[in-house]
């Protein structure tokens, strides 16, 4: 028997949330793009990168100015962190929660895969020619380190309670919801800032290219001719709180499920076994069955292996009756931010009453028998499941719902 939780968790309220990707800054730009099937992908012209690939770049990230007291945190990843926090009034809602609960009772759980490693990549071009030393203005702790975005957020709000970064590659900011839910359930905190931020850097662009996992065209999730990802960047945040009687229409986290492939560092289990286990665990923790799910936001990276394995897992569990799509053709693969970005996309689908389509995908892979949405359409999903899978075989599924 596998040791996965069989305990149903209490729903948690997403009392505020926001998302910023190449589709635009904030919920309104995101919903407009998703409803209209617009993609944010463009040919790669990032920094000095010379690769034939497409990317999802957030506009004006480097115009963001950090507070003078937090100058050591300055890097593209923390600029996007601040930009995300200061969108849709999210930071104000956090400050209200701190006023309500106290600065030791609001926890921070943020996901990232590469944090501010771009800062280190740039610093390596400026090493002392004599000694090889990195420049004095390079600050490892506050930029490169995986915790930097969580520490920046803690300092930004003057918080004094628990904080952690979760870094499990592309499942990172899905798993933050599970970690925060545990502490909220235990009562060690009263609210949690959860989310994910990842920004473009040379490591991931050249790295995915080295694995032959980037496409020379905009990515085409679940397309028969899909041939790789489009790397993106993004910031997405939610404020999670316990709530006995949520107002009608509010968005709830209903369940979380985590598993490991135990198979390969950079390829998914070919039968999608770990993915299936994560979805089953999420259903169990929500106390739901497959019939209760109205929409699935797929991990859908657009690599041949990911979509085939995930498709097998989804069709085994859900058959071909639940509408599903990957939104990475719109946003690109925002890596460690993808879990939170796609959780917020599910929140938009639940509150606005639509099912997002899949820009870029034209000819569905006939070998994957799922109800895949090419075009966005209106509909009223009540519960949505979202998948995130990462290198090292790290899987996480979340279930969100809308309160009646």
């Amino acid at each position: 028997m596998l040791p996965v939780s069989d305990l149903t968790v209490n729903p948690l309220l997403l009392s505020a949330y926001t998302v910023t990707t190449s589709l635009g800054r904030g919920l309104e730009a995101t919903r407009e793009a998703l409803r209209n099937g617009r993609s944010g992908l463009v040919p790669c012209a990032f920094e000095t990168v010379q690769l034939a690939t497409w990317i999802g770049e957030v506009a004006a990230v480097d115009d963001e100015k950090l507070p003078a007291a937090l100058a050591d945190y300055d890097c593209r990843n923390n600029r996007l962190t601040q930009m995300g926090l200061e969108t849709d009034g999210f930071a104000d809602r956090v400050r209200e929660a701190i006023a309500r609960y106290g600065k030791t009772r609001v926890g921070i759980f943020l996901g990232t895969s590469t944090a501010g490693i771009l800062q280190t990549e740039l610093a390596y071009r400026r090493r002392d020619p004599e000694t090889g030393a990195l420049p004095d203005d390079f600050h490892y702790r506050t930029t490169h380190n995986s915790f930097s975005l969580a520490e920046f957020t803690r300092e930004y709000f003057g918080l004094e309670g628990m904080a952690m970064a979760i870094s499990t590659a592309c499942s990172s900011s899905a798993k933050v919801f599970a970690a925060a839910a545990r502490q909220l359930e235990l009562g060690t905190i009263d609210a949690a800032i959860v989310g994910g931020v990842d920004t473009l850097c040379l490591t991931t662009l050249y790295g995915f290219a080295s694995l032959q996992l980037t496409s020379a065209q905009p990515c085409r999730p679940y397309d028969a001719a899909r041939n790789g990802i489009s790397v993106g960047e993004g910031a997405a945040f939610a404020l999670l709180e316990r709530c006995d009687q949520p107002a009608a229409g509010s968005v709830l986290l209903l369940g979380t499920g985590e598993s490991s492939d135990a198979y390969h560092m950079s390829s998914p289990h070919p039968e999608g076994l770990g993915a299936k286990m994560a979805m089953e665990a999420a259903l169990r923790s929500a106390g739901l069955t497959t019939n209760d799910i109205d929409y699935i936001n797929l991990h859908g990276t657009s690599t041949p292996a990911n979509d085939a394995a995930e498709g097998k897992a989804v069709s085994t569990l859900f058959g071909n009756t639940v509408p599903c799509s990957s939104t990475k053709g719109a946003t690109g693969h925002t890596l460690g931010a993808a879990g939170a970005v796609e959780a917020i996309i599910c929140a938009l689908a639940l509150t606005d009453g639509f099912l997002p389509g899949s820009p870029g995908t034209e000819h569905l892979d006939p070998a994957i028998p799922v109800d895949y949405l090419l075009q966005s359409r209106t509909g009223q999903p009540h519960r949505a499941l979202t998948n995130s899978f990462g290198f090292g075989g790290s899987n996480c599924s979340l279930i969100l719902g809308v309160a009646k």
């Binding site: 915790f147 004094e160 870094s167 490591t203 490991s260």
Partner: protein, 267 residues
């Protein structure tokens, strides 16, 4: 709402640090029975891996396998069934340096293996492949507070999921020039097998609450130097009590001003 206590039983310990190759050696030093010898950390060849993989395994992979397998063996637990929490202040420093160095040249065609080994959860990924464990696997970072973050999340899983969870907190060194910016001197870490129920193998119970007390220091200057130099070794005051089979409270560093108070109940 009233909080459910973050509490668990410790059934197994794994340990590795400079001059302290395993838990029995560390326990004797922490008890004051033998002196700490100054020596680099010794990484055992990971017997769980096939020979080819064993040779290729990086220092962090060898470190985490050594720590986790020692704790599981101590507890008599089957590693294939265990949920895990990995917590580290950084990833594979040597691999990171090699990537940054190459990306600063005109030839940016980095090795695909180096790329997939660059993720913070690389050691956790190899642990899964080596042990076959498909249970949830968490991978955290909280800079110098990484041990505390790992303990908080691992206890959360033990209390809510009612399942044994293996916490592996570890760190490794960067080569220059990053070493000058982040001077972690060597590989080191601790593994604790945490269980929700007391058993015949239980060594002690621990209950964690937030505190603002300063962390306990160690009287032995060599051990105290290790506690301060390597984030995962902020655990040492707890391990000293466990080594001496003493009940009572210890205070550990987490994220100032939040520290952790640990109440130890002996068996």
């Amino acid at each position: 709402m009233s909080a459910k206590p973050l509490t668990a039983w410790i059934e197994g310990i794994g340990f590795l640090a400079p001059g302290l190759p395993d838990w029995p050696t560390a326990r004797a030093v922490l008890r004051g029975e033998t002196a700490l010898t100054e020596a680099p950390s010794i990484l055992p060849a990971p017997s769980i891996l096939p020979p080819a993989e064993r040779r290729r395994a990086s220092r962090v992979v060898k470190l985490t396998l050594a720590l986790g397998l020692e704790a599981a063996a101590h507890a008599g637990a089957d590693v294939a069934t265990l949920a895990t929490v990995f917590s580290a202040s950084g990833a594979d420093g040597h691999n990171c340096h090699a990537l940054c160095e190459q990306l600063a040249t005109d030839d940016r065609q980095i090795s695909p293996t180096r790329f997939h080994n660059s993720v913070h959860n690389a050691a956790a990924g190899y642990w899964g492949i080596a042990t076959g464990a498909m249970a949830p696997c968490q991978v955290l970072c909280a800079y110098d507070g990484s041990f505390g973050a790992g303990l908080i999340d691992a206890l959360g899983q033990v209390v809510l999921d009612r399942q044994p969870t293996l916490l592996i907190a570890y760190d490794s060194e960067y080569p220059e020039p990053l070493f000058a910016k982040r001077p972690v001197p060597d590989v080191a870490g601790v593994a604790l097998l945490l269980t929700p129920e007391r058993s015949q193998r239980s060594l002690a119970s621990i209950t964690v609450t937030p505190s603002t007390e300063p962390a306990d220091a160690l009287a032995d200057t060599g051990l105290e130097a290790l506690r301060v130099a390597i984030p995962a070794l902020r655990v040492l005051p707890l391990l000293q009590k466990l080594a001496r089979q003493e009940a009572g409270n210890v205070y550990l560093d987490y994220l100032p001003p939040m520290q952790l108070k640990i109440e130890i109940g002996s068996c």
